[in-house]
Symmetry: C2
Subunit: 244 residues, 2 copies
């Protein structure tokens, strides 16, 4: 640990000091290299390409953070579920680190506020996964700034621990088709699933399914089996109907 005085030197402006405090609240430690954290909240849509031609956005940090986060969560679940097979572990991991889940998490920990603060062009913030991207980039920044062990502590104690109920994650029903059917019964709507297209050769057939609610087609989905095409169409329908 560096003494307090060196931090005062590191953070030269009042804005830097405030930003450092905001990040410290999120990650549990004062940033050493604040520039990494500033970069983490800089989305490509609000980036000015600097003169060297180097793209000065958080996309490289996001690539790194995605891999580090994946490894930390893989290790965590490996030890948490010693009797489950790799298919189970992979599925649970993807439920934790998927785009929507990371977007929500970024909002919960207050990272989204910093991203908005950084962005000079609010109109471009419509990009769907801007907060989740920033969260992955932040994991990359913490890894580079603090090393693997401290990054692991940040992910487990500040992200996974307080914000995921593992029992609930395991029990969540990700079968979109049955969710839709439950919804239709509850709301007294008629619903059916149809395969409307088949294509491809014998070895790689592909299907297009559609979801029809009250005789109106509301979504379609593709897949390499009828079941997968139906799931894809049902997932879109769930999103449209806000059932996620």
């Amino acid at each position: 640990m560096k003494p307090i005085l060196s931090y005062l030197k590191l953070y030269r402006t009042q804005e830097d000091r405030e930003l450092a405090t905001a990040f410290a609240r999120i990650i549990g430690r004062k940033p050493l290299n604040l520039d990494l954290y500033k970069l983490a909240i800089r989305h490509a849509s609000s980036t000015v390409v600097v003169e060297t031609g180097r793209n000065n956005s958080n996309e490289r940090l996001e690539y790194l953070g995605d891999a580090i986060l994946g490894a930390i969560v893989a290790d965590y679940l490996f030890k948490k579920f010693p009797y489950q097979d790799e298919g189970f572990l992979t599925e649970i991991r993807s439920r934790i680190v998927n785009r929507e889940s990371l977007n929500q998490l970024a909002r919960k920990i207050g990272l989204s506020v910093l991203v908005e603060f950084d962005s000079r062009r609010r109109s471009r913030l419509s990009h769907k996964s801007i907060y989740g991207d920033a969260l992955e980039a932040l994991v990359g920044a913490v890894y580079l700034d603090q090393g693997f062990k401290r990054c692991q502590a940040f992910v487990l104690q500040r992200l996974i621990g307080p914000h995921f109920d593992l029992d609930q994650v395991v029990q969540t029903n990700l079968n979109f088709k049955s969710r839709l059917i439950e919804w239709a019964q509850r709301e007294n709507q008629s619903i059916r699933f149809e395969i409307i297209e088949e294509s491809g050769s014998q070895h790689s057939r592909e299907f297009v399914a559609q979801v029809v609610v009250n005789d109106e087609a509301i979504s379609t989905g593709n897949g390499f089996s009828k079941k997968k095409a139906e799931q894809a169409a049902a997932a879109k329908a769930c999103e449209l109907l806000s059932l996620l």
Copy 2:
């Protein structure tokens, strides 16, 4: 570091001592928990399900090792190529950690011999990626046994460093279509690419392409653009013609 004597205690049988020496030659350190390494070379095809119902193969270790290896290589490339974007980094990483590359690497470092030694049923060894799977599992075992830092040193100093020429990896032509065309010119064969099917809605069109050599269709491929469908068909053709 534990003193030498404790290793003598750890490795009880002559076979264990020999196995520990063999692993030490591969990873550069004596295993602490030899059981992890034994598990790493135990492929599902040669596994007896133990009484607890716990699947005693290397698949869980492979899941963990895949994630750890991905993170270590992501970090390595991030620092090696400070001016390249995340698309480049992702592509180079997948060239290093893809199944075929890991299979070859497992043979180069002598891990394949240990896997064969372990397997009681050679006939099942036809499984394509058994060596690459074992290598990922070994990375998982080293991570659990030695921690992140030493696992990182193993991957960089014993796997990536001696066995990958990064300049060559970057320059490798992965454009299957142009490889095929080069082959056809060299071998004086006629070749053409055809789009034989289009399907899907306006927003997600899909295409099926086929490769025709001397008026005979030899492979097909699917993709969300004509170019991708052609690449997929060309990749299969390259495999058939042993051009990979």
